[in-house]
């Protein structure tokens, strides 16, 4: 059995930044206008009418430079990034290795110091990267054209729903086709963006095998069906082998099909959107294609479409002319307009380009195979942990992740998946409870990706096994966790009561008063 570490997270008891303020201190100075300018135009501010001048400066803290640095370094130490742990417990998030060499590219002045409105001739390098990645993703998906503008998976899903709307409006069926179908184990945003675009959302639930019920789909489609937005495999990690039937059924009533491939990590080079009959798909470059997650963005949801739908993509797209020069093409006749300002998140695009260039076609396929191997290896091990089960598809293999359940453990001990997650942080691990609603009771989702060695996977499973054993032997220890994290059990009442919640420090001071005797001094 692998060793479980006697871990303790950094506990600096770091104050809130406003508590560090010392009037008069400065963190950084700003260049002053030259004397000649000052003499000519004066203080600059007097051109404003009195009512528009801010006389009272904003009540920001005043802190010297090193102290600001130290504060944020301590907060960084109180954050468990993927670079530090065996980050397989945030299933569906694809917490893989983000190669450091790609950070060098993303930090290069040649990348950071370019403005999106520069003359095309001065950004040929950036345009080449965007265009080349479009070509790569066409190969990986089998679709015909990509837009790299969406700033995340949800933005790509929003673009998808927008295209579905625009397509039907163009063919005169915009009013009639007012329903988008998705599944309960597809990402919550797939449903949410459809509602944002004015569609009624029809949700297909799972059958006994944990797959979306195809009979329910058959009953749900009609002349009102605008489209389908679906993940596969869904959060369960079970491949829906009837996926091509799903797209056929939706196509048969005139709907469009969008593939949420935010996480395509187990399928690269194995099976593609085109073979399954999809009109569109999207890949999260911050998941499958290694761009780091950045605490939640900036990111990119690369949106692909068939030739038929390419004219609906957001503009501009990058093209190459006969001289080999790259240019921005705004001339897509049916474009939905824009999804994000300018050209999207270039650093994410650049890192994904470099990651694919490092691996190549065979490397991508090997990446997928290892993600699946690692997942099934962990499945075999977790299945042996008392109290843990992998509902649905018993005895079958999974693709890149598995949604497990602690229901048995909860039944035996009263310890919940939230309790286990908190206790896992005492051992330096993440464990995520999964998306709502909790169809799988007491859920947890593990996605090992290709990045972790067998030993590390063993270490993670040993952590799970340890905590599960604790749940049986000393449940209070788990319920009262964390014990070795940055902080202890948080009083959650503060988050849902309007009289108590404080989204800012000033709101805290108004509602609860200065942190005096009861506070940290």
């Amino acid at each position: 059995m692998a060793k479980v570490r006697n871990f303790h997270q950094a506990r600096w008891e770091e104050p809130v930044i406003f508590e560090l303020s010392q009037p008069g201190e400065r963190g950084i100075l700003v260049p002053e206008a030259e004397k000649a300018i000052e003499e000519r135009v004066g203080d600059g501010v007097s051109v404003l009418p009195e009512k528009m001048i801010r006389r009272e400066p904003p009540a920001l803290p005043e802190i010297s430079q090193m102290r600001v640095l130290k504060h944020y370094l301590r907060l960084s130490q109180a954050t468990l990034g993927a670079d530090f742990n065996v980050d397989v417990g945030q299933g569906t998030c694809t917490m893989k290795y983000s190669p450091k060499v790609n950070e060098e590219f993303a930090r290069s002045p040649k990348s950071v110091c370019i403005h999106p409105l520069q003359d095309e001739q001065t950004v040929q390098g950036a345009l080449e990267i965007i265009h080349s990645l479009d070509l790569f993703l066409r190969e990986i998906s089998g679709l015909d054209r990509f837009s790299l503008q969406p700033g995340g998976g949800s933005a790509a899903a929003l673009a998808m729903a927008s295209i579905i709307r625009a397509f039907h409006e163009q063919s005169g069926e915009g009013d009639q086709r007012d329903e988008i179908i998705t599944t309960i184990f597809s990402h919550p945003s797939d449903a949410a963006v459809a509602a944002v675009k004015g569609f009624k959302v029809v949700t297909i639930h799972q059958n006994e095998e944990g797959l979306p019920d195809i009979d329910q789909l058959r009953k749900s489609v009609s002349e009102r069906t605008a489209g389908l937005i679906i993940t596969n495999p869904e959060d369960t990690g079970i491949f829906n082998s009837q996926i091509a039937r799903f797209t056929e059924i939706v196509h048969s009533v005139g709907g469009l099909c969008g593939y949420d491939q935010a996480n395509a990590n187990g399928l690269l080079g194995i099976t593609r959107a085109s073979e399954a009959g999809f009109d569109m798909c999207y890949f999260n470059l911050h998941k499958t294609f290694s761009s780091p997650h950045g605490c939640g963005g900036p990111a990119c949801g690369a949106l692909g479409a068939t030739e038929e739908l390419a004219a609906f993509l957001p503009v501009p797209v990058v093209e190459r002319d006969v001289n080999g020069d790259y240019y921005l093409n705004y001339d897509l006749p049916n474009t939905i307009g824009k999804i994000r300002s300018f050209h999207g998140v270039f650093p994410a695009i650049l890192r994904a380009y470099a990651w694919i260039m490092s691996l190549g076609a065979e490397g991508l396929r090997e990446c997928a195979r290892l993600a699946v191997l690692n997942n099934n290896y962990v499945l075999a091990k977790v299945s042996q942990i008392r109290g843990a089960t992998a509902p649905y598809a018993e005895g079958r293999h999974r693709i890149e992740q598995v949604r497990y359940s602690w229901e048995e453990l909860y039944h035996d001990t009263g310890v919940t998946t939230e309790d286990i997650a908190r206790r896992m942080s005492d051992y330096g691990f993440h464990l995520w409870q999964s998306h709502h609603p909790f169809i799988v009771p007491q859920p947890f989702t593990i996605e090992p990706t290709e990045s972790y060695s067998r030993d590390e996977l063993d270490e993670y499973v040993a952590g799970l096994a340890r905590v599960a054993r604790e749940a049986y032997d000393s449940p209070d220890l788990v319920k009262s966790a964390p014990h070795r994290s940055v902080v202890h059990r948080i009083n959650e009442d503060w988050f849902d009561e309007p009289g108590k919640w404080a989204v800012t420090w000033r709101a805290y001071l108004k509602k609860h008063g200065a942190p005096g005797s009861g506070g940290r001094q």
Partner: protein, 466 residues
């Protein structure tokens, strides 16, 4: 690559792979794909370039492509319009490049306490700058923030029409239109051709009991500071609508924040607060409001709150009113939330902590002085009007070259030859402005650089005159 183990793929070591297969009870990895029907299997080869698995080869290749870019450091850039070159303190990059922040994602507050605290502090620092009590975890960009602000206003008022100034960035407006369609009708409100500010007569003629919100930007895309924000808010409020304002936070050390002139929902972009341009990838949006339940419950975004823990004196953090989000409610939640631009939020927090009240004041003052100097210098040139609009400006202003007989395109081509990126050409999107360009001056432009620009333009114009 053949026969070698790629550094990103540890378990491709043959012995390891074999033993893992044994544990699973298979003889080959391909057996794991049993659920994928044969007809769905991809049989071809992905046509990708030969890989560069050795890091030095990859570096050479990628850097050779990037070297084709000409940067705003190597040249003098006057481009703005929603993205600008401001100074990025060294500590901002030091923090956002930290492995912990760079590679964390969606951990719980116990594993990711620092991420929660840093974003709570970002919200708190922005709240001081904006003088409001609630600010969200960043959206993708200002465009999404503006669209969400309008949708929030529509839900709060139960109305579906929004009046939007026509002096909004065309790029941003495009995003807003898509994001608001089909629920909201966007009705444009004209700007005054003389001052560039909102035409209050046009506003008065369009506002009605159907209006959910009036939206304008301060400064507007064309540069003028809107000085009648209080009047606009009054008109909006009288009609039962909300005042929604997009603002450049860089200006708020010296210019009154929108909450001081009746704004109900404020939004904008934080790229100027310590984040590089990244070809536009440095954008991230904010939304701010009063701390009233009817406002807070309409945010789609994460809102991180502070709390006490079971240990006396200890701070904890977590999600406020999580049940409003699409994570909790899917299509029943408010709009949607996902991966937006959190790392830029942390970075902007670091920036504001460094700048403090006096830094933001000094910054605003320097920018206003230098931009006024630039406007004066350019207005001395024959045939050039700078600024085009009779109003106070902050960092951006329209320069009208129509009377020089040159197009902006010709002018910018000439400037490019001198290592200068001229202002953004407005002639296509704002044809009524003739041959005009949007120039942007920040604290990064020295007097010398402004003089170089003026001299180069002078030369270009006098050549034309000959």
């Amino acid at each position: 690559m053949r026969g070698k183990v790629h550094p990103y793929l540890p378990n491709s070591v043959p012995d390891v792979k074999r033993s893992m297969c044994e544990t699973i009870g298979i003889s080959d990895v391909d057996e794991l794909y049993e659920d994928i029907p044969q007809e769905l299997r991809f049989r071809g080869d992905m046509n990708l370039p030969d890989p560069l698995p050795a890091e030095p080869d990859l570096r050479r290749h990628v850097n050779s492509i990037l070297s084709k870019n000409c940067t705003c450091e190597e040249n003098i850039s006057f481009l703005g319009g929603g993205c600008a070159r401001h100074y990025v303190p060294a500590i901002c990059d030091e923090i956002n490049q930290r492995s912990e922040f760079l590679t964390a994602y969606a951990g719980e507050p116990y594993a990711d306490h620092g991420r929660f605290q840093a974003l709570f502090e970002y919200q708190s620092l922005m709240a001081e700058l904006l003088d409001v009590d609630v600010v969200n975890v960043p959206t993708y960009d200002w465009a999404q923030a503006a669209a969400t602000s309008l949708r929030m206003a529509a839900r709060i008022t139960g109305r579906e029409e929004v009046l939007v100034s026509d002096a909004v960035s065309p790029d941003r407006r495009w995003v807003m239109e898509n994001y608001c369609t089909p629920q909201l009708a966007i009705v444009p409100v004209a700007h005054c051709s003389c001052t560039g500010m909102m035409d209050l007569d046009d506003l008065a003629s369009k506002i009605s009991a159907k209006t959910a919100a009036v939206y304008f930007e301060n400064p507007s895309y064309l540069g003028p500071v809107e000085t009648e924000g209080d009047g606009i808010a009054e008109i909006a409020h009288k009609a039962g609508a909300l005042s929604v304002v997009g603002v450049d936070p860089v200006s708020l050390g010296v210019i009154a924040p929108p909450s001081h002139y009746g704004c109900d929902i404020v939004c904008g972009d934080i790229q100027g607060l310590g984040i590089h341009m990244h070809f536009g990838g440095g954008l991230a949006g904010f939304v701010g409001t009063r701390d009233e339940e009817r406002f807070v419950m309409e945010y789609p975004s994460r809102l991180f709150g502070i709390a006490r823990t079971c240990v006396e004196g200890e701070w904890g953090f977590g999600d406020v009113a999580y049940s409003r989000t699409s994570f909790a409610q899917r299509e029943e939640g408010k709009e949607f939330v996902g991966t937006h631009s959190a790392l830029w939020g942390i970075t902007a927090g670091v920036y504001l902590a460094l700048m403090g009240p006096r830094g933001m004041q000094d910054l605003g003052r320097t920018i206003m002085q230098r931009s006024q100097y630039a406007m004066e210098r350019l207005s001395e040139l024959p045939g050039v009007t700078a600024p085009k609009f009779d109003a106070p400006h902050f960092k951006e202003f329209v320069v009208d070259f129509t009377r020089t007989g040159l197009t902006v395109e010709e002018m910018n081509k000439f400037l490019l030859g001198r290592g200068i990126f001229g202002g953004h050409d407005l002639s296509r999107c704002f044809p009524e402005l003739g041959q005009s360009a949007l120039y942007c001056i920040t604290e990064m432009h020295s007097k010398d650089e402004i003089d170089v620009l003026a001299d180069a333009l002078c030369e270009c114009i006098s050549r034309e005159a000959k």
